[in-house]
């Protein structure tokens, strides 16, 4: 079965290394999402897999074929472009059937497929329109349909929802999530949007500065980010980072901040043995902090609430802890009246620790 294997893929534009050695292993029928900040090389990676951009170095395997020197048409790939890339002179039906007509599918088969995919994307009533007569969201779906009628080994999506308004985007995301259960195919999906990434992905690949920072299931990335970048990138609002120093107090290791002291989670004692006396970064998710007095022995923080933002089911508290800004997410139901200094607590195991030099997580 066509799993995808990428080995030491590199791309240089002149002296600039945009992709500096990428290794990926994607299982068959997996929905893989590439995320990362703008300019980190997501599109370039996708275009190299598609064959639209030549790799400077490395291998791309689809199933048991090495494809990195093949023309796009010989790679057995379908792609949804970020800017739709519809054929302006063809109506929707002809846009969608172009690949099938080139491959000389029988007409009845082509019609059946177009009808099925068009129904799935609710664009059945648009089949005889030219792209110029469609709205952005409709074009987006046509672009999607053009890829989905095909029998490709791999489907590539480059930020396919990026140009939609929030409502259409949610609706399309739901359609995609449903669809990906029905069409079990290899999909690689590029997005900036973490909600898309978290909801759609079997596997998320976080890219930054031309390298893979971490890959894995969405919940693994959320629970155990491998480094500071991933910790700050996955999760919204982003993780709070507090500078601390690992010290000993009365024989017990503690994390000393400027105006706060945190206990060391027992599960992390061993890993931290060599860090005594050194600076660390402690990470706490906004949702890990609970207001009030916790159970005995639970680590506590006193936060100075500066602002409470009500955003529906949740409220976001902007607080200060010493010199650091700390964001807290609370359930709006439990929103406590209260300003100024308030006690908060958290589960010791929800504390993340990072080495500030290597930026890697310490576990």
């Amino acid at each position: 079965m066509p799993h995808i294997r990428i080995r030491d893929l590199q791309k240089h534009f002149g002296d600039v290394a945009v992709i500096a050695g990428l290794d990926l292993d994607l299982a068959d029928k997996e929905f893989t999402v590439l995320v990362g900040p703008s300019g980190c090389g997501k599109s370039t990676t996708l275009r190299m897999i598609a064959g639209l951009e030549e790799a400077s170095h490395g291998e791309i395997w689809i199933g048991d074929r090495e494809v990195s020197r093949l023309e796009p048409k010989d790679r057995d790939i379908a792609m949804v472009f970020q800017d739709y890339a519809l054929y302006p002179h063809m109506d929707v039906a002809r846009n969608m059937s172009f690949a099938l007509r080139l491959a000389r599918y029988p007409k009845a088969e082509i019609d059946a497929r177009i009808r099925r995919v068009a129904d799935m994307l609710s664009i059945g009533h648009l089949l005889d329109r030219k792209p110029a007569a469609l709205s952005g969201g409709q074009r987006q779906r046509v672009a999607m349909g053009r890829a989905l009628v095909r029998d490709a080994a791999v489907f590539l999506f480059d930020e396919p929802l990026s140009n939609l308004d929030a409502k259409l985007r949610n609706q399309m995301r739901a359609e995609l999530a449903l669809m990906r259960k029905r069409v079990e195919k290899n999909m690689i999906y590029v997005t900036h949007d973490q909600i898309e990434a978290m909801t759609l992905a079997d596997r998320i690949v976080v890219m930054h500065a031309g390298r893979v920072q971490q890959q894995g299931r969405p919940e693994d990335l959320y629970r155990a980010p491998a480094n500071l970048f991933v910790a700050g990138f996955i999760g919204a609002p982003p993780m709070n980072f507090l500078p601390v120093r690992l010290d000993s107090r009365e024989g017990q290791p503690v994390l000393l901040g400027r105006d706060y002291t945190l206990p060391v989670p027992p599960s992390r004692m061993a890993a931290l043995a060599s860090y005594v006396g050194r600076d660390l970064v402690a990470g706490l998710r906004p949702s890990a902090l609970r207001q009030g007095k916790g159970p005995a022995g639970a680590p506590a923080l006193t936060l100075h609430i500066e602002l409470a933002e009500y955003i529906g089911a949740h409220s976001v508290l902007v607080t200060r802890c010493g010199g650091e800004r700390v964001i807290v997410e609370v359930n709006s139901e439990q929103r406590l009246a209260g300003e100024g200094e308030q006690p908060f607590w958290f589960d010791p195991d929800s504390l993340h620790l990072f080495d500030p030099e290597t930026e890697a997580a310490i576990r």
Binding site: P72, K73, A78, D83, H89
Partner: protein
């Protein structure tokens, strides 16, 4: 007082008025004058008052004149041949040179030079090239041991030769427009075609050509209109000969006006030429809008 609404409606015409005035003086007046003249008999050098009204006599005479019909035939043959050849060659070259390879920009520049040469000079260049004793073409044939070609001296060959000269000069026109159109095509649509499994040739046939077709159609129309009016190059190469074999309409008009000095008949001829070009233009515009109408409904 005009209503606001009325004022708004009149405003666009107000802005168009200066242009309309210029068009009236520069275009409509000469055309009307030419129509007026075609109903008269008048010779160069005599005062306009001496022109004699003859009604449709000039037209009747023309339509009965064999040399007119021969000239129409030559013109249509010439115009069709040059437009077809120029479109095919120009588009083909644009397709070949539409890529970023080393040297293509130099080649493009060299290639559009013929278009920038004054027509008179083009005529002189080709007269030299076609010279049957010492022209380079004849010399080359001789060196290869091949028989000479009567470039300009045989009636059949002469028409071919003037067609070649025109194609040489004006293929670049189609070429640059086609190239500009190709380079303006959405790169992503072409990438999409590659992903959809199209070969280079299929991409050209199904994506690139249909997308640049409107530009090519306009360019071809411009060339067609121009080909009906071409004068200088043929005048210098053949003066319409041998016999009437290359006497296209504009040359026929020129000769009627300045050799036979029959300005009335020349005007009648010009009007007929104008009519032909007008009909062609309308036909092409109609054909295009019809096709678009059908495509829209499809």
């Amino acid at each position: 007082m005009p209503s606001r609404q009325g004022l708004n409606r009149a405003t666009p015409y107000l802005f168009l008025a200066p242009a309309a005035a210029v068009a009236l003086v520069g275009l409509v007046y000469p055309m009307l004058r030419s129509v007026w003249l075609s109903f008269h008999e008048w010779s160069i050098g005599t005062p306009p008052e001496s022109a004699r009204f003859v009604g449709l006599e000039n037209y009747r005479w023309l339509l009965a004149d064999d040399s007119f019909w021969i000239s129409v035939g030559v013109t249509i043959t010439f115009a069709t041949a040059v437009v077809v050849l120029e479109v095919v060659l120009g588009v083909a070259l644009a397709l070949v040179l539409d890529r970023d390879l080393r040297g293509t920009s130099l080649f493009r520049t060299i290639f559009i030079l013929p278009m920038m040469i004054a027509p008179i000079v083009v005529g002189l260049i080709w007269r030299f090239l076609y010279n049957e004793q010492f022209g380079p073409l004849s010399q080359a044939l001789k060196a290869l041991g091949l028989p000479g070609i009567p470039w300009l001296s045989s009636p059949d060959m002469a028409l071919v030769s003037v067609i070649i000269a025109d194609v040489w000069q004006w293929t670049p026109f189609i070429f640059i427009l086609a190239l500009a159109a190709l380079q303006g095509l959405p790169a992503s649509a072409i990438e999409a075609a590659r992903i959809d499994g199209a070969t280079r040739w299929q991409t050209t046939l199904y994506i690139k050509l249909p997308l640049i077709a409107p530009v090519i159609a306009v360019a071809a129309l411009l060339r067609l209109i121009d080909a009906f009016k071409v004068l200088e190059v043929i005048y210098i190469l053949t003066e319409g000969g041998p016999g009437l074999s290359t006497e296209i309409l504009s040359l026929h008009i020129y000769k009627t006006a300045f050799v036979s000095q029959q300005l009335g008949r020349a005007s009648a001829l010009s009007n007929l030429l104008l009519l032909i070009v007008l009909v062609l233009t309308v036909l092409l515009v109609l054909a295009r809008s019809l096709r678009e109408g059908r495509a829209g409904k499809e």
